[in-house]
Amino acid sequence: MISLAGLAAQFTELVLAVLLAPLLTGWVNQCRAWLQSRSAPPLLQPYRVLGKLFRKEVVLAHNASPLFRFAPYLIFGCLCAAAAIVPTLGTDLPLNAAADAIALVGLLALARLFIALAGMDVGTAFGSLGARREMLVGFLAEPALLMVLFTASLISNSTSLTTIAETLAHKEFVIHPSLAFAGVAFTMVSLAENARIPVDNPATHLELTMIHEAMVLEYSGRHLAMIELAASLKLFVYSCIGLVLFFPFGIAGGGDWRGIVLALPALLAKLAVGGALLALIEMVSAKMRIFRAPEFLGTAFLLAVLAMLVHVLLER
């Protein structure tokens, strides 16, 4: 049942996620700048941007509805809850009994629904265009992510993320070909979901190709800060899902304080490598036309379904 240590671990993970998420974004930006032989922004630049936005006043459009003002908090809350579910340091998380992998996908989808609705709220050309494109990416990426998680669930006979992490981390070394397919699919989905090249470009603005930035154009001040923080959290959550599914080594078991302390450097190292790889992928690929995005995501979806099939056929 729920232990005090579990609650403490849960709280630590949540706070850590909120604190570390902008750092990961900063690290990816820095790596990208190095790879493009630009002079890199400081590692802590995202914190400065957030701080600046938090201090500024909010400029709301005349016809912005309460939904527009409420949405950033809700999106932030959904992503925090998602971050709390994904095991990063230890697997003794009380919240995991309340929400499993399907609920995680549901929380991410809820955040997407609200950001798309907020994009449509003011009624500008860019807002609704961005909302439509975001939902286009979403309706293909979401089932693909679910199928990736299902593959892992079938391997560990559970949809609970902690059980998945424990099974995959503590199993003797068995090669799962299904996880290879799932890994490729997951990488593609994460690129699309986090508004990365080749589907979207986080650095672009005022272009007809933007997706995420188009939706949040009308936001400013503290609202924009919440949205930016939520976007960082999303990248962090996706990175951690990837680590749990494909590199779960080093995550501490239940109630093991020393393990949790040791898990922190392991997590940081894994995230550093992952962030560098993300920057590399973005470096070597080109931005696609928006109409190619469904093909890209359709491929990811098919790969994820293939992963399930491979598991059913070969690994039982």
């Binding site: 005349h62 009624g123 286009l136 293909l140 089932p143």
Partner: protein, 667 residues
């Protein structure tokens, strides 16, 4: 008076009360006040009473009754068991909300008189209640046909318009083709004994071929009533044609009577389903789900959009039912119970959120006289009550936590995750594909609902007169709030709903998943190690985090808030037409799922000075299936007209020939 202590008698009495209320409508046929201030509230009270009786009856043993009604030697049999009681609960609780809403909705208008609408409305409700307690084929068919007829008159209540008459005709036609199949199904089941009581049919053990014939006929008949692909064409015509409260009842409750009938025939009357029936139902369900939602995405009429989304939901329900049959056929009772629970839970959820959304469109329709998405927009500022209720429905229908739609989809996906344990090689491979289709459907429904809510309620008014739109009245709001509250409660306390479904799955599959070791807080079917979900905790934690973020901002934030013109990348001359239109929002789906549609495009010529581009997407099945059948029927009837000469001497010759032939044969 101990006549009415028996729940079955109470149900029959309440159904009669509905009939009486309907008949009273004729007393002052032309008076809207009489119907909306007296009769509809009374109907709502009866609905609540029915829900209360049914809720108690779920946990009581089944009891039956022979009514002193019907033909001589062929009395009506009635029976109330857990399955009937569950569907009666659905009918009563949803119709209570819809009736309250109807008090504010119906006004003086063209078409059928208000008293007559009131009669049809309550006769419709009563006949649905009777369908669910009928215990012989005769009574069932009488109730079933009264349901079809009363709903036909409701669909065509605005019968001045030609397209509404056309929709009604199509509806009646397919309803009757389906009814014939159901009749034949009962014929196949009674095995020549001439005894059509369900009690007799239940006792029989039909041979596999007869059982299969009966199942396929039932699938056809009930599938036609519930709008399963390829028998769905009437649904997007008929549901939008009706007044909104009726659309709500059609989508929310009448489709479920077909699900009830299919479950009753397959799991109760036939009793021992073969596993491959489940594959058929699963495949049909998935095709309907995916087809329905893809077509919903390209609709430009808000009620048609919701009607197509009903096809999607019925598809998911059929998929769950198919999975139940597969598990049941392989003797895996506990998993069959899980799949059946997911199916019935989804029935209940769909009833609430679809009626909620249809009623919201009704309020929008009243306030704006506009059904086309392309002429709406920005209504959240004029009609906040309706908009926030619609948002709850939107979240629920998109299957997002912590709503009720997510809870049932969660259960359905859990059921799918157990399919690798099926002892059949090919099915194991089929099922990941099925799970993928369910996931894709769920994600697409999110897309569709963003389109629906965003285009109707958000953005700028696409027409200037929308700025004068009026908020819905008190009656309408009460009805909406009742349904919205049900959506939230059903989502937050799924373990209690499962407890409600437990007697049904025990009766039909021999297993239940309602006795949860985890208590009311957690939804943990099969075992908690495998999967558990607690919407209340998820909701509380998320709410806590949202509140914490908001409070932190309140405490530490110093910047103010200023209103200004929208930024939109600095473009100064924005107008409402620059927002995405409904067609524009559907475009990506039309692009990705192009093979689903029959596209007709008209591009302007290069030298056209006033270029116009038009594109229409229609259902391929209409051209591949229905029009050929219609042409065949026409050709056949044309042959018959060869007999018709219009000359009396020819007809006398026919009579003479007939007489001769009869004399020859009869001798």
């Amino acid at each position: 008076m101990n006549l009415l202590t028996d729940p079955l008698q109470q149900v029959l009495a309440l159904a009669c009360a509905w009939l009486v209320i309907g008949a009273l409508g004729l007393a002052r046929n032309g008076s809207v006040e009489w119907a909306t201030r007296v009769l509809y509230p009374a109907g709502a009270v009866v609905g609540l009473g029915l829900a209360a009786v049914a809720l108690r009856a779920i946990f009581q043993p089944a009891n039956s009754l022979v009514l002193p009604l019907g033909l001589p030697d062929l009395p009506f049999h009635a029976r109330l068991d857990a399955l009937s009681a569950f569907f009666l609960l659905l009918l009563g609780s949803v119709s209570a909300g819809v009736s309250v809403y109807a008090c504010g909705y119906f006004r003086q208008q063209q078409g059928t008189a208000p008293g007559l609408i009131c009669l049809y409305f309550h006769a419709f409700l009563a006949s649905m209640a009777l369908v669910m307690v009928a215990d012989d084929a005769y009574f069932f068919m009488v109730a079933w046909e009264s349901m079809a007829l009363s709903s036909f008159f409701l669909v065509t209540s605005d019968h001045d318009k030609a397209e509404i008459r056309r929709a009604g005709y199509l509806y009646l036609l397919i309803a009757h083709v389906g009814a014939i199949a159901i009749l034949l199904c009962f014929g196949a089941l009674q095995a020549g004994a001439g005894d059509y009581t369900f009690e007799h049919i239940r006792a029989l053990q039909p041979s596999a071929s007869w059982a299969t014939a009966a199942f396929l006929l039932a699938l056809f008949g009930f599938g036609a009533k519930s709008g399963i692909v390829p028998l769905h064409v009437w649904l997007p015509e008929a549901h939008p044609a009706a007044p909104s409260p009726v659309s709500a009842l059609l989508s929310a409750v009448m489709l479920k009577t077909a699900v009830y009938g299919l479950i009753r025939v397959t799991l109760d009357l036939i009793g021992s389903p073969l596993w491959w029936w489940g594959v058929v139902a699963l495949a049909l369900g998935l095709v309907s789900a995916l087809g329905g939602i893809v077509f919903a995405a390209i609709q430009t009429d808000m009620k048609r959009l919701l009607a197509y989304s009903s096809i999607e939901n019925i598809g998911l329900i059929f998929a769950g039912f198919g999975l139940t049959l597969i598990f049941h056929g392989f003797g895996m009772g506990a998993l069959a119970a899980l799949a059946l629970t997911a199916t019935l839970y989804h029935c209940l959820n769909h009833a609430f959120y679809k009626s909620l959304l249809f009623l919201c469109t009704g309020s929008v329709l009243h306030a704006t006289r506009e059904r086309s998405l392309g002429r709406l927009g920005g209504l959240i500022r004029r009609m906040p009550w309706v908009a926030w209720c619609a948002l709850i429905g939107t979240i629920a229908i998109a299957g997002l936590p912590p709503s009720n739609g997510f809870a049932s989809e969660w259960l359905l996906l859990q059921a799918f995750l157990f399919t690798p344990s099926l002892p059949h090689g090919y099915l194991n491979m089929l099922v990941p594909v099925a799970a993928a289709a369910v996931a894709l459907t769920a994600a697409l429904s999110g897309y569709v609902m963003v389109k629906f809510f965003g285009v109707v309620f958000l953005g700028q008014h696409r027409e200037a007169r929308l700025a004068e739109a009026q908020e819905a009245g008190l009656w309408e709001r009460t009805g909406l709030l009742w349904l919205a509250a049900a959506c939230i409660l059903l989502g937050l306390f799924p373990a209690m709903v499962i407890g409600l479904l437990d007697p049904i799955t025990r009766a039909l599959t021999g297993h239940g998943i309602g006795n949860l070791a985890q208590g009311w807080l957690f939804l943990a079917p099969i075992n908690a190690e495998r999967a558990s979900y607690s919407p209340l905790l998820v909701f509380l934690v998320t709410a806590l985090l949202v509140a914490a973020a908001w409070l932190a901002i309140r405490l530490f934030h110093r910047g103010g808030t200023r209103r200004a013109a929208a930024w939109d990348c600095g473009f100064p001359d924005q107008d409402a037409r620059m927002q995405d239109s409904a067609e524009g929002f559907g475009q990506p789906v039309r692009h990705v799922f192009e093979p689903f549609f029959r596209l007709e495009q008209h591009a302007p010529a290069p030298d056209d000075l006033r270029p116009r581009f038009s594109e229409s997407a229609t259902d391929r099945l209409w051209h591949w299936l229905y029009l050929p059948i219609a042409r065949g029927v026409e050709r056949l009837t044309a042959l018959v007209t060869l007999l018709q000469r219009g000359r009396i001497s020819v007809y006398l010759a026919y009579s003479f020939a007939t007489l001769l032939a009869l004399l020859l044969f009869a001798r």
